[in-house]
């Protein structure tokens, strides 16, 4: 976990990039030449065609085994390509091709692959790479991403890290591939914190647990004496805030994942719950219950000053900041049933945005800013859905006996939530398009997931 300083990205300036520059220059020249010709050509000679609909489908990608520098790294190298393949497959946007179909065997990842061989198996992108141990014991991982049909390199980078971080290197490479092929930031180099639940139903032990987004490297953050709920990540540091039923009233706590230190947020007379960080990580917004009503408060973590944001006789809770920190969405029953409202970050008038059937709760603003995810309860069913911040475009992604607690992946493309089919809760992911629902493997029952920001 201490590798961040050690890990650096080196833009590859090997012969290939020089070649690309040359190619780019040549094509530019050709382009200019063509443009001058174009002036002479009759425009009518060109057949013009508009293509206004595409076909979004998983892109077939060939991920070759990374070449090991020596026999010692052979297994690790194979595992790296395995993790990349699993990541890309899980996200639903790629379809890794079975290595058994590969025609060309990549021996030297620096050499230009035989593109016709890869076109023959319908690969659109090709990943090659190498893993070598440096003289100083560090691990050097390098990869190249090739566009098979255009016959050129799309990306090529190398990373240095300590050998125990080989999994993270695989995730970082996955993110680089994802970003170059989709145009969006990836989310593979991230973690999930959730409430691990063990034991019989009437005496559940709930512990905070953290794991990589691919369920690896699981560890527990609390011992299970206190009941814990609603863990949330700080968007800028490896810190979480959560709610704990210790002695007395439930309290909002801060926990540093690296050091294990925890502290109570604020010193309020009533019960505090539903905490969440501001996008800059400098403030925590939460609910404070006093009497029969609860209102929203925000606390500055440095000055420890608290500010009241709402003052109603209703129950205002589950606040979540917009990614620019200008607005807050929250749930409130001020209109009768629980609905979602949006107001300025400093408080003031709130505008209701949910008008569908049933009640709406646990709103979460996407890191992309384009959607607010929610839990909707209607007709005896719980559904997870998204709507735009102005309340339009509402879409329920999944519905069933019990679904709750959505949290966005760092790039806002995937939602994680928990589903309880009766026996106990489990974690699931689903694309914001409503496709590609998948169960997230956990050692036991799991609820209340929170997705971390990208680690790097």
């Amino acid at each position: 976990m201490v590798l961040i300083a050690d890990m650096k990205t080196v833009i590859d300036l090997s012969s290939f990039n020089r070649r690309r520059v040359l190619l780019a220059g040549a094509s530019l020249g050709a382009g200019l030449g063509f443009a001058s010709l174009g002036g002479i050509r009759r425009a009518a000679a060109v057949l013009r065609l508009d293509v206004t609909q595409g076909n979004v489908q998983p892109m077939p990608v060939a991920i070759t085994d990374f070449g090991p520098g020596s026999a010692g790294e052979a297994e690790m190298a194979r595992n790296v390509s395995g993790i990349i393949s699993a990541n890309l497959k899980r996200c639903g946007l790629f379809a890794p091709i079975d290595p058994a179909a590969f025609i060309e065997k990549i021996v030297n990842s620096d050499a230009v692959p035989r593109f016709p061989d890869w076109r023959a198996i319908n690969a659109q992108a090709l990943v090659t790479g190498r893993l070598t141990r440096q003289g100083d014991g560090r691990l050097k991982a390098e990869f190249r991403l090739w566009d098979v049909f255009a016959g050129q390199q799309l990306a090529g980078q190398q990373y240095f890290t300590t050998p125990e971080n080989w999994r993270r290197v695989a995730h970082i490479i996955s993110d680089a591939i994802y970003e170059r092929l989709t145009g969006e930031k990836g989310y593979f180099d991230s973690r999930i914190v959730f409430v691990d639940e063990t034991g019989p139903k009437d005496r559940r032990v709930k512990r905070l647990a953290i794991m990589d987004q691919d369920s690896a490297n699981l560890r527990y953050l609390t011992r299970g004496q206190d009941l814990v709920l609603t863990p949330r990540f700080n968007p800028s540091t490896q810190e979480i805030t959560y709610m704990s039923y210790g002695q007395g009233d439930p309290r909002v706590l801060l926990l540093n994942i690296e050091t294990g230190q925890s502290e109570v947020v604020g010193n309020f007379p009533g019960m505090t719950f539903a905490p969440r960080f501001s996008p800059d990580g400098q403030r925590v917004i939460m609910s404070l219950q006093q009497g029969g009503s609860s209102n929203l408060f925000v606390m500055d973590l440095r000055s420890r000053r608290t500010t009241r944001l709402t003052d109603t006789a209703a129950i205002d809770t589950s606040p979540s900041y917009s990614p620019n920190g200008q607005q807050i969405c929250f749930e409130s029953d001020r209109g009768g049933r629980q609905q979602i409202y949006v107001m300025g970050a400093g408080g003031g008038a709130a505008q209701r945005i949910s008008f569908g059937e049933g009640s709406y709760s646990t709103p979460v603003w996407s890191p992309r800013g384009d959607f607010i995810a929610f839990t909707r309860q209607a007709g005896g069913k719980f559904g997870i859905g998204i709507m735009k911040p102005d309340g339009s475009g509402e879409r329920v992604l999944t519905e069933g006996f019990h679904n709750e607690g959505p949290t966005f992946a760092p790039n806002g493309r995937v939602l994680m939530f928990f589903r309880d089919l009766g026996a106990g809760p489990s974690l699931y992911t689903i694309d914001v398009t409503g496709r590609n629902e998948q169960k997230v493997p956990t050692p036991s029952f799991a609820s209340d997931p929170a997705w971390s920001p990208l680690l790097a």
């Binding site: 057949l47 013009r48 065609l49 293509v51 979004v56 049909f149 255009a150 170059r180 145009g183 398009t433």
Partner: protein, 286 residues
């Protein structure tokens, strides 16, 4: 009484007249039977393409004088006939000024018979025989020759009727230059097939937020066999990784679509140079 009856008659007549007026002059709705007419909206450019025809086709030269001269001179007899002779020899027997040669022949023998009897007749006969012969050969040659541009004409069973109704002058109506003729044009189904192929292969980046920024125009040079000749040229410029991804997805669709076998080699001139606009706005509209 008289006054009363006359007033009654008058009133009756007025009522009848007014009633007739009401019935007759009442506004009748225009009987616009709503017939749906299939309309293909095309641009001027497309129209010119459709009606352009192909350079190498023979009939291109003949039609112009024909039409022009017909328009200029109301007396079409001699010239068109000659042209018709050039093009479709079948008509020659009927239209060629055959009456003249026989007349000459008749006259000639009269004069020449006195001097040299056998030679001129033989010559004239030979001439007569020679003339039709080469023409017949041409006919034989041209008819079986397969010309793709005349497929429509070959399939058209009404050909003789058309000649008759249009008159001899227009029997050789130019096929090129008219939309209905067998001009070499890209059929709508070819263009649709090309578009459908690109649509099925275009996998635009899902992360597009402002689709109007990612409309990619690509110029493609195709070879006659439908393969991509040169690397597709992207005419749109932009920046950012999302633009690069959108650009790559368009170029990849072009590469993956090759060879474009739905395009006929006969119409190569029309599709050797294609500009495709990949427009994601419809896909990513909220």
């Amino acid at each position: 009484m008289n006054f009363r009856t006359s007033s009654i008659v008058s009133a009756g007549a007025h009522v009848a007249f007014l009633g007739w007026c009401v019935l007759t002059f009442s506004g009748k709705p225009l009987d616009a039977a709503p017939q749906s007419i299939p309309v293909d909206v095309i641009s001027a450019e497309q129209f010119s393409q459709i009606t352009k025809g192909v350079e190498k086709a023979k009939p291109k030269e003949t039609p112009k004088p024909l039409v022009e001269k017909k328009a200029d001179e109301p007396k079409p007899a001699p010239e068109p006939v000659e042209k018709v002779v050039e093009k479709k020899p079948e008509i020659k027997p009927t239209s060629e000024p055959k009456p003249q040669p026989p007349a000459k022949e008749e006259k000639k023998p009269e004069k020449k018979v006195e001097e040299k009897k056998p030679d001129p007749i033989a010559e004239a006969l030979k001439k007569e025989e020679k003339k039709p012969e080469p023409k017949k050969k041409e006919v034989v040659k041209e008819q079986p020759k397969f010309d793709a541009s005349k497929i429509a004409a070959l399939l058209d069973k009404r050909a003789p009727q058309r000649q008759a109704s249009a008159g001899q002058e227009l029997s050789n109506a130019p096929s090129l230059g008219t939309a209905q003729g067998s001009a070499k044009t890209l059929s709508q189904s070819e263009i649709d097939a090309l578009r459908a192929r690109l649509m099925s292969l275009w996998n635009p980046p899902v992360g597009i937020k402002n689709p109007e920024d990612y409309i990619i125009r690509v110029r493609i040079q195709l070879k006659r066999d439908g393969t991509v000749g040169a690397p597709p040229m992207v005419l749109t410029s932009g920046h950012g990784i999302l633009f690069e991804t959108a650009r790559d997805s368009a170029v990849r669709a072009v590469f993956r679509g090759a060879p474009y076998t739905m395009l006929r080699p006969e119409t190569y001139d029309l599709w050797k140079d294609i500009e495709v606009t990949f427009d994601p706005r419809d896909m990513f509209r909220g």
